[in-house]
Symmetry: C2
Subunit: 319 residues, 2 copies
């Protein structure tokens, strides 16, 4: 959760984009690095495969005293959330554990128990694992292969001017606990793709400002959000009340990260039908229209006091 | 390379086998944890997919002063070697980089250059990557999906009493340099599966004694090797000559690990044809018959002085 502060280093996004430019890819790669998952034509009739790798690290994404089952849940859940972002179905996972000196085998088994329980709930097969030494801290790498019908795959690109911007769940203050216990929005995403086909979708892992920013960059467009429409998590408000050093709730909702919710865009004509049918299908999942896509690039938020420009930078891991 | 010594912890194999027992899997999993790769029926006509994850860690698998391009080569090469062990074709890789404090972006780019060059040589697409913080040391996780014709997939199990035991290349002393520069035996493995169909195959990453041990356990059989037939790497002999503390060359060949060669079994009637045709096809790759599969479990080696029993434990990472 707590990002390590560093100076004079390229940030994560910059480094990834520099590295991505030199990656060899072939004809089977429908979409490579740059979306939530890589989209692969593996020769499965009617389907594309979604390939994703992700990792959580002790002291960065969880503390040493975190519940190991929840740590396992989070490690797999993050990758599931990326598969959800493309409306895919997760299928096969492999796990790499970097084990610290003096690791406790029971703790490691609990991490696996947390992963296995979540895998079972979503019919994911855990097909292999490796352990290596990582002397100072637990490191859990998860690789996931999913699949999606070729005509149902949702990308980050595709948002059109005038589309509404929607989010599931609530935003901000995830560090209070949500980041260890969240439910990846797989069912919601698949239902959305089957019934409404959003023009673009992404999962919120780095904070709304940053992740929506990626979606806007892909569309070469901007967005105007309405402050009063943002579903701010209670914990974000509480934290702001309890400490002056805490982020104001709006900033927390925009930049805290680790929400693991869906953000998608959809033609405004479908708004009423979506709200109505979604509520019937997922009575426990909040869904909010928080603004709209506009022509002019940039992210603005309408407050009582006027329109404020927001930097589209989320939770940057290496700055 | 240098394994970290720990006490009172389960070793890697024991832990993996305990963890594997509780992994949820589905009908699509033809072979899960326990072979070089998981074998998956992903719905591709005529093919199985091979899923593999692996990692290399600074101070464990390479030193901080190692050539970063070679480190990248090794990180991907190890996973390629596992795909080779099943006679597969590697297709799509994803990479997770755990970056230490004060990491140097040029070094990271060089690591990627090393991976990209090897990927290109084997037509592997690098389809995605993540970076996370791993404050004390560089951690490189590689996940690889390959494919293999269903009737050409070679497993660890299947060795029959009387089969010859074969290895490619040379064994031992890999730490002198081979572990950073090896060529995964993909071409040789595919050719073997297409032309001779070995009864079982494995790649040598933990040392001949340990890896052949896995193959024997699967077959519920034993093996008798001939000391004079073992292709011992020159560096293993040199190290033994230079220092009394170094392993004797035979022990090095059996237990050093990181050879990344193929070990396979094949009916003895095909030995002459194999030697002849392999030499024509791969003039630069040594191939040796080092012994045979026997009824009685255990690994024995015939020396001038008699028959010696060898513990089938290779390079155990966590003891």
């Amino acid at each position: 959760m707590s990002e390590t502060k560093r100076e004079k280093q390229p940030d994560e996004f910059e480094l990834i984009s520099r590295l991505s430019a030199k990656l060899p890819t072939g004809d089977s790669v429908v979409g490579g690095a740059g979306d939530d998952c890589a989209v692969i034509d593996a020769g499965v009739p009617g389907l594309w495969q979604l390939h994703k790798t992700d990792a959580v690290v002790e002291g960065v994404h969880f503390t040493r005293d975190a519940d190991p089952q929840q740590v396992g849940h989070k490690a797999l859940g993050r990758a599931l959330s990326d598969i959800a972002a493309m409306a895919g179905t997760p299928r096969w996972a492999t796990v790499t554990l970097g084990l610290p000196d003096g690791f406790d085998a029971e703790t490691v088994e609990s991490v696996y128990d947390g992963m296995a329980a979540l895998a079972k709930r979503h019919d994911v097969s855990l097909v292999g694992g490796e352990t290596v030494a990582n002397p100072e801290r637990l490191f859990i790498g998860v690789s996931l292969v999913g699949e999606v019908a070729r005509d149902k795959c949702l990308l980050r690109s595709g948002a059109a001017v005038g589309d509404g911007v929607w989010v599931t769940g609530e935003l901000g203050g995830s560090i209070a606990g949500h980041h260890l216990t969240f439910t990846p929005r797989l069912a919601e995403a698949q239902w959305l793709a089957a019934n409404f086909k959003p023009s673009a979708m992404i999962d919120l892992s780095d904070g709304l400002a940053g992740d929506l920013g990626h979606l806007l960059t892909s569309a070469n467009a901007g967005a105007e959000l309405l402050e009063s429409a943002l579903p701010i998590r209670r914990e974000a408000r509480l934290r702001a009340k309890e400490s002056e050093a805490a982020k104001p709730p709006l900033l927390a909702a925009l930049t805290d990260g680790e929400d693991y919710e869906l953000c998608f865009t959809l033609g405004q004509g479908q708004a009423v039908a979506l709200l109505d049918r979604f509520k019937q299908e997922f009575p426990d999942t909040p869904l909010c229209c928080i603004g709209k896509i506009v022509d002019r690039p940039g992210l603005k938020i309408r407050q009582k006091t006027g329109l404020m420009e927001i930097a589209t930078r989320g939770h940057v891991h290496f700055q």
